[in-house]
Amino acid sequence: MIRRIFLVISDYITPVMYTDSDGYLPEWLKDVGRFLGGVLITVVAAALTIASAPALLVPELSSAPLSSLNMTFYGAMLVASAFSSAIKSDMERISWNPYNENENAVSQSYDISFFKGVFVYRFGNTNGGGITCFSIGLGRGTHTDITLLHEYGHYRQQQLLGMGIYTGLIAIPSLISAKFTPELHSSRWYEKWATDWGKSKGFWW
């Protein structure tokens, strides 16, 4: 009914603003909603992250602060989408869903994205590659799904081991291996583990 009224009205007036494709809500109203929702999510998730921060170092319990930290980023991106068309377009690519499971939508993003609850930021210009530290960084040259899944595997290692063990056992050896023995890097046990785990559909294994 409302849509009908809107369509009748729009026959008589000249549209002066961009509206959504269904004709239900003006885009600026959606932006306001996302902005306010984003502020709320950011504040609540940031408070949860700070409160649960000590658990970051505890194996398995680190999932809680890692999740809330990534939700903080989600809230911040909702806020930012009201001002940045690039971020809005990246968020639309994943239908605003932070638990998006479409690897291709993430690989096609330009600035930011979300994959299974994890914030993904894009860096650099043309090189493909990645790094995982709380969230996932993907080089802008990354168009294949393999790197994203591999980095997601590292994220799951962070959840399982906690940041303390992860840093000592995996992150630092991985960074050293990447720098000094690049040809052997993918055959290291922690890298194979990340690749296998990133691809697996199960919660833990």
């Binding site: 000590p54 590659g129 393999i146 591999h150 940041m163 840093t167 991985s174 023995t181 890097h185």
Partner: protein, 174 residues
């Protein structure tokens, strides 16, 4: 209790700073010879085995870097019926690795040329530079400007690439 919390928070901040700082210098990089997401196979007009003769010009290095069609010799052209199989196998070569030092920044030697309808192309060559086998991968726009490239010495990738050429082309590449 409060001091324990501050200690954990401080430790976490230090760890994240350390990781990010190290990560800037040692990223995991992906090196692939072909990305199936990049273009439709129907956009490809030709896949050829080529020899790109580009000896190092010490006096004028930009001469090496700029693509010159006159340096290119087409040795054999692939049958279009096997494009899909060939590209599928080509896209499997490479993977996630550490950051290789860039050894070369221009094509040289025997390799593959993938030409697109819009005039853009991908050129992959293998050459020996200072006793190291190097593979060059370059993506070019329609006006032959290089858009993205790497030139590294990754023996496993070179071996896989040469095996693929032997499998699909009749010309002897030794």
């Amino acid at each position: 209790m409060k001091s324990t919390k501050i200690f954990f928070l401080f430790s976490t901040l230090c760890l994240s700073f350390l990781l990010i700082a190290c990560g800037i210098f040692a990223l995991e990089r992906q090196y692939f010879l072909y990305d199936l997401h990049d273009r439709e196979i129907s956009e490809i007009v030709q896949i050829s085995l080529v020899n790109y003769i580009n000896p190092v010009n010490e006096e004028n290095q930009s001469d090496n870097e700029q693509y010159d069609v006159e340096k290119l010799i087409i040795l054999e052209t692939l049958n279009s019926e096997v494009y899909e199989d060939f590209l599928s196998e080509l896209s499997d070569i490479g993977g996630i690795a550490g950051t290789f030092p860039e050894m070369i920044n221009s094509p040289n030697g025997m390799g593959i040329l993938i030409s697109y309808q819009d005039g853009g192309f991908i050129l992959i060559t293998v050459s020996n530079e200072n006793d190291d086998d190097c593979i060059f991968w370059g993506s070019y726009s329609s006006n032959a400007t290089i858009e993205n490239f790497f030139g590294i010495s990754w023996q496993e990738m070179i071996d896989d690439f040469e095996a693929l050429i032997v499998k699909y082309f009749d010309t002897n590449i030794d």
